[in-house]
């Protein structure tokens, strides 16, 4: 039923600049894919090429194996939702939604039926007679979506679909769109610069920069295993710690043990996300709490030792329970991360160091999982990552372990 999109070797030069550089991408039937990247990364251009609103210098775009580049946009069967909706201001909501059917000379009765069904779908049953100017941003967005769906497109494309909305509306619409996609199962690609949005909505996230695809995969896979520093930084904050790998140990240049690594040797940078840093109050610890910012559910804690400062984040409840305060001494444990640089060709996973006299309870389990990696499947990977996160979370729970002892 659903259409598979294949993109091969897509190139586009504009004013002497490479806008798209050899793009290869396959979007599976029924998949919801996000093109994620900073502005100027080429993501909107790529979307417009799939739609037919822009043409590549060379390369191929295929729907279910059929080359669509030769076809004009209006014959590709693509539903497109524009960033600013592009609703026809002189038409009512109902006529906007029915436009694609009206130009296809569908009988009026059929159009009315379809429009009322779509109005129901987007939960705007009573607004069919209004003009776009009389609607809120979120309502306009849904009208634009209904209009795009009216032509029963093979492929749905959305350009920054929530960019122009305020935070609360954006969150609600995101969830609603996710549900809608699950029901309709139409192959969908959307463009965003917001990694949170990409992660919450998409089955697959395609990270772009400088006209190239840097990495593509399930959100969790990207977050846990970024292939390069750009992807790592773009997908969320990370502490960057200069370090080197020696005999399976990762040692910070500032002179302390960060953790272990199963391969690689030489210099690099360890990328550790704030939530991968666990803290335990200990006046004899090497670290001091430099800064404490309590904000809502999560608190941020800046910790420092000579020549190095890190940022950790933890649930505010935990921060309270631990009695964290600026100036107090703490122990820091790095529960995970990636090392990238000269040490190895590919990023190396940073494993937790055995903690002094108590080896980590979870250590063996992680090792076992790592070894299963060759038989890679996305579902398995997601499950594995989930279990790893759970073990990391429990490994952070010093107090409970203390009790258990």
């Amino acid at each position: 039923m659903s259409t598979r999109i294949e993109i091969e070797g897509l190139h586009r030069m504009l004013a002497g600049q490479m806008v798209l550089d050899n793009i290869d991408l396959v979007v599976q039937p029924g998949e919801l894919a996000a093109l994620l990247g900073p502005s100027g990364s080429g993501k909107t251009t790529l979307l417009r090429m799939i739609a037919g609103l822009d043409r590549p210098d060379r390369g191929a775009v295929r729907f279910d194996g059929e080359d669509v580049l030769a076809r004009p946009a209006r014959e590709r069967g693509v539903g497109f939702v524009f960033q600013h909706y592009a609703l026809f201001r002189h038409m009512t909501v109902a006529r906007n939604i029915g436009f694609g059917l009206a130009v296809r000379k569908v009988p009026r009765g059929r159009i009315e039926e379809k429009v009322s069904a779509l109005l129901k779908l987007v939960q705007l049953e009573f607004l069919g007679g209004r003009y776009p100017a009389q609607l809120s941003g979120g309502q306009r967005q849904r009208v634009a979506l209904a209009r795009a769906l009216a032509i029963e497109p093979r492929v749905l494309l959305l350009d920054e679909p929530f960019g122009a909305l305020d935070a609360v509306v954006r969150r609600d619409l995101r969830r609603w769109l996710r549900r809608l996609h699950r029901e309709m199962h139409i192959t969908t690609v959307f463009v965003t610069h917001d990694q949170e949005e990409a992660f919450e909505l998409a089955d697959r996230v395609v990270v772009m920069n400088g006209g190239r695809i840097r990495q593509s995969g399930a959100p969790m896979q990207l977050y846990r295993r970024p292939v390069d520093p750009f992807v790592c930084r773009f997908l969320g904050e990370a502490n960057e710690i200069p370090c080197r790998i020696e005999n399976g140990f990762v040692i910070a240049d500032a002179g302390f043990l960060l953790g272990r690594a199963e391969m690689g040797t030489g210099g690099g940078i360890a990328y550790v996300r704030p939530h991968q840093i666990a803290l335990r109050p200990n006046e004899a610890g090497d670290w001091r709490v430099a800064e404490l910012t309590a904000g809502g559910a999560m608190s941020r804690v800046g910790v420092a030792r000579d020549g190095l400062s890190l940022e950790a984040s933890l649930a505010s409840e935990r921060a309270l329970a631990l009695g964290l305060q600026a100036g107090m001494g703490v122990e820091v444990e790095i529960a995970g991360g990636m090392v990238m640089g000269d040490a190895a060709d590919a990023p190396v996973t940073l494993l937790p160091a055995p903690h002094r006299d108590r080896p980590l309870l979870t250590e063996r389990k992680i090792e076992k999982d790592e070894k299963e990696e060759p038989s890679f499947s996305e579902e398995k990977e997601a499950k594995r990552l989930l279990s790893v996160i759970r073990t990391y979370d429990s490994s952070r729970d010093f107090e409970r372990r203390d009790k258990n002892r």
Partner: protein, 285 residues
Amino acid sequence: MESGRWMGRRGAWREPSVLPGFAPSLAATLLWLGLLVAAPLAVMLATAAGLGWSGFWALVLKPRVLGDLSVSVSSALAASAIDVVFGLVIAWVLARYRFAGRRAIDALIDLPFALPTAVAGIALATIYAKEGPIGAVLAPFGVAVAYTRAGIVVALMFVGLPFIVRTLEPVIAELEAEQEEAAEMLGASGTATFLRVLLPPLAPALLTGFALALARALGEYGSVIFIAGNKPMVSEILPLLIVTELEQFDVPGAVAIATLMLAASFLLLLSVHGIEAWVRRRHGG
């Protein structure tokens, strides 16, 4: 209920406003319009009223007057209608595209505003005469422009064009290109996109431009008399007849015809504005 006093003043002739300066600026407006517009018209109407109904109709209901009125109105309508079509194309090109020579064309548009109309009339007559560069091309086909009604239309098109272009240009510039792309994505052909998506938002501006060009064309004199044949009831416009009557010191006749002309123009413009208001309302502002 402090505000009740204000809300109760619905019947007042002026909406309450915090903006100062209403009284002096309204006074200036009335004074200025009175001196410049209303006073001369009032004098004319008063003179016409002095003729009495029967006297007025006797002066106006003459074949030559009615024939010239029909020449004036039909030429003005035709010229404005043609201007709407080509004005739309020109405004589209100027608003949408950037090309070498665009500024020169842009300046050229305003020329009919600035040129003494007699100069334009003489120039047009020269070009379209049988010996002129365009007239010579048309002559073998049996088409004569200068000294015919076609000449009147050409002159009126010349003076009316800038009104259409200048009215449409900013409105076209404001249309989002995304709307056309949206129509294309929904499967609309170029024609359907133009007729259903682009034209409706332009309709009010098109009508405004049409009304302005029509107003100008109805009142135009200088450029027309040089190119029109000025043959009564065929290629003579009503303003020329007024001048002719005046030259023969027939002031009552001139005033009666002028009043007729005023009434006809006023009714025409009123109906165009009526249509325009209706279109605007229909498109939800």
